[in-house]
Amino acid sequence: MIGYVCKYTPVEIIKAFDEEVSRIDPEIKTYEKAEGLTHPNMCSFMKGTLEDILQKNIDEVVLVNCCDSIRRLAEILKNKVKFLHVIDLPRKINESACNLFYAELLEFIRAYEEYKGKKFDQDRFKNILKEHKAKIYDSNECIAVLGARFRDDVIKNIGKRCNINVINLTCTGEHRLSNIMQRNDLIFNYASAIMNSYPCMRMTADRLAFLKNYNLKGIIYNTVKFCDFYSYEYASLKNFLNVPILKIETDYLDFDSGQILNRVDAFLESVGVRKIEVQVKNRGYFMGIDSGSTSTNAVILDQDKNIVSYSILPTGAKALDSAWEAYRIALEKANLRREDISCVVSTGYGRISIPFSDKSVTEITCHGKGAFYLDSGVRTIIDIGGQDSKVIRLDDCGNVVDFVMNDKCSAGTGRFLDVMARVLQVPIEDMAEVVRDFKEDITITSMCTVFAESEVISLIAQNKDKRDIIRGLNRSVASKVASLLGRVGKRAKYMMTGGVAKNNGVVYEIENKIQEKIIIPFEPQIVGALGAALIAAGEND
């Protein structure tokens, strides 16, 4: 079996040799061997592919020198597999580039004939190409998946969550080969068809024009950590196309994680194409329950959408127990019984594990609903919770139109401040102090919680004033928020939600940084649950 990774690989030529060919789609969990052979900061797809080839003993590999990572992969694989061939793919699409690629294909055929001791079968190749039909554009509304490659099961997973067509425009997608002319030199025509397929970011051709062939309702844009190609396109695309875009960053293997699916769901909700689970009722009392990583909060509304009661509890070791307890306390405070509640909507990281909820909606949509309910002038929500921070942009009707979240890192979250309070040996309340009369302007430079922790330890060792360090830490959280705000663009009014909104020190530093006033609701932790309760009461999600 010959393994390959790139869509520009001459798969049909390999098939004409009557050989089995398979796209390598790593599903491994660790990079034990790969990280011994290369650097940990290489892209996770490259490391995954290397690990997969070694684990599965794939001994024939054809690569295209697509990017720096794959080029290094090729060199690492030398002497580790029986047959390795690297095809040099030109980046331009013109006649002389096609000629070069044609020569590369002939060289591949020669090399494989020599290795395998069998001839390339022209007739078989001709028959394979006869069966090929180029993909025809679909004019129906669709969600496009764009950017770095996705695994096939991931595309299916997105399809299941969406009520319109999902098209895969990544390099594992549908536009691998354009039409092939059957006359004259078939291999040259084939080379030309491969070169003229929808270009990947490596090529110099314009990719954006191609998108105009589709009726796009939204774009899910994937970037892979340490694969930097696609972030450029994302940065241009958001200014070029008037289509909602969700950017996600994965390490290729973790797409199915709750954090990423959460964003996809929120995005599909915001463009109105998420599959609806149940019909909601519109009489009685309605509950929203937000099962977060740090606190579990519940809100009950009456049918006129007035807040009847709410509860806030720390999330214990078992999220479900905390959810039941928040549910019970909210009922008790409102003097209601379970049967009085017509509908329960759950949100937060634990939302799918709450058996008594009728429906689950992401906290992004819920924070949007809740904040807009509290103040209809709010256009930007800064939500800093225990394990993530996000900025949500609302339109004039309170619908979520864009959002960004921190990526897989606790810097700039409530957890970051918890860790630092522990290092400084101060109660978390002391971290909330507004420090105006600082002695020294300390900047915490480390971007990662673990490194920031050692930086703080060394500041303590230098006898720096704790209040100055706290100010530095709060400013570091503010700077993370400012960066997220930069990505969605600033627009007043601002509201801050989540537990960290109770930290006056952080709020003060964010206000300073963005030079705008931030509204802090009376109980910032319940905004998500409030939004869920509003959806339970019949507001569109």
Binding site: H39, F226, Y230, R487
Partner: protein, 419 residues
Amino acid sequence: MNAVNAYLKLVRKNLDKPTIAYKFIKYGLNVAEKYVSFFPDRRLPESLRSLTKLCFKYIRAPIDNPQNAVWVNIFAPTEFLHAMDIYPLFIEAYSSYMSGFCVEDCLIDKAESAGISNTLCSYHKAFIGSGELGILPKPKMAVTTSMVCDANINTFRYLAAKFDIPIYIIDIPYEYNRNTVEYVKGQLLEMIGLIEGVFNKKLDLDRLREIISLENRTRKLIKEYINNLKYKSFNTTMATEMYMLFTSHVFMGLEETFDFYERLVDDIKKAPDRSGKGIFFVHLLPMFEKSFKKYLNFSSEFQILGSDLNYDFLNEMYCPDPFEAIAEKMILNIYNGGFERRVKAVSNLVDEIKPDGIIQFCHWGCKQSIGGVGIYRNYFRERGIPFLAVDGDAIDKRNNQEGQIRTRLEAFLEMLKRR
């Protein structure tokens, strides 16, 4: 130094005011050039003092004269620009100067907040951040090559679209043969057509031939310098080795560059015999990193012998057909093509210079270099030459974990001392 710090604070404070920030940067570069002219660092040999000054001149020209400037990457064929009296702005060097101005963090944050990946190379992020902030003057056009690093095409394409300027991308194939040379030649001809149109002037082929001839003579001097490094050495700095990237790449073929190498050869001949342990770098030198600066700059115990990046093409070029000569130069660069080409070239340099230890500074986001760390490690282990790979960032100082780097470097140097 207080005046310098006050100035740096002022630049930082005004980064969101593009016109003012641009003026401050111009002013700072101008004053710095004058400073190094009047108060050169006496610890450096005369040739390297003149190099510092020369680099300020080279970086200032396109910033001061954007209407006659082209953005280029380090591997771009700037011979054409020199032949047409156009100033190249060498983007990697620009980012390095911005790190010297201590504003790289703001620039990088700006690029990341525009959506650029945080795992991208900091040289590119800092340049993009400058473009996003508008503190870079708009040049006439941009020229980049696909060589060596994936970021080149993307950074240039992104900023060219943002600034609405023409761009030419030269695609350099991996292998050297007749077809690939013709493919590159064809592109160079197309590029010249574009440059001539943009600047409304003609390329003088004879002038181009003279530049290539001077390049050949300069490379002879470089080889002579390498030859002397075997026995002799200066107590130099990482910064001067990095400055040499101006003369070995973007400004190769100019009279002043030739003069610099002539002086360098004179100085190395006069230099004392190597007394300390010689350190050779593959790829970049961490000129801003504290521990490296402390242990290597001006050290007679551990002497910097240079980097392979300054010697990535040492062949003679064929003057009568400058297009062919330049196409060959790009395809045959040791950083282009398979990694074995680079290993072989480093191996030749090691045979020539005979360092006591090799360091690969694994620069944040530089996949093309760090991906080969395992290959280098195995190669030097086989040859019995101590090798250190250390992670960090040549631009963004926030990515350098001081304690971790210090421990690794000290342990490596202790190891060298014992040998």
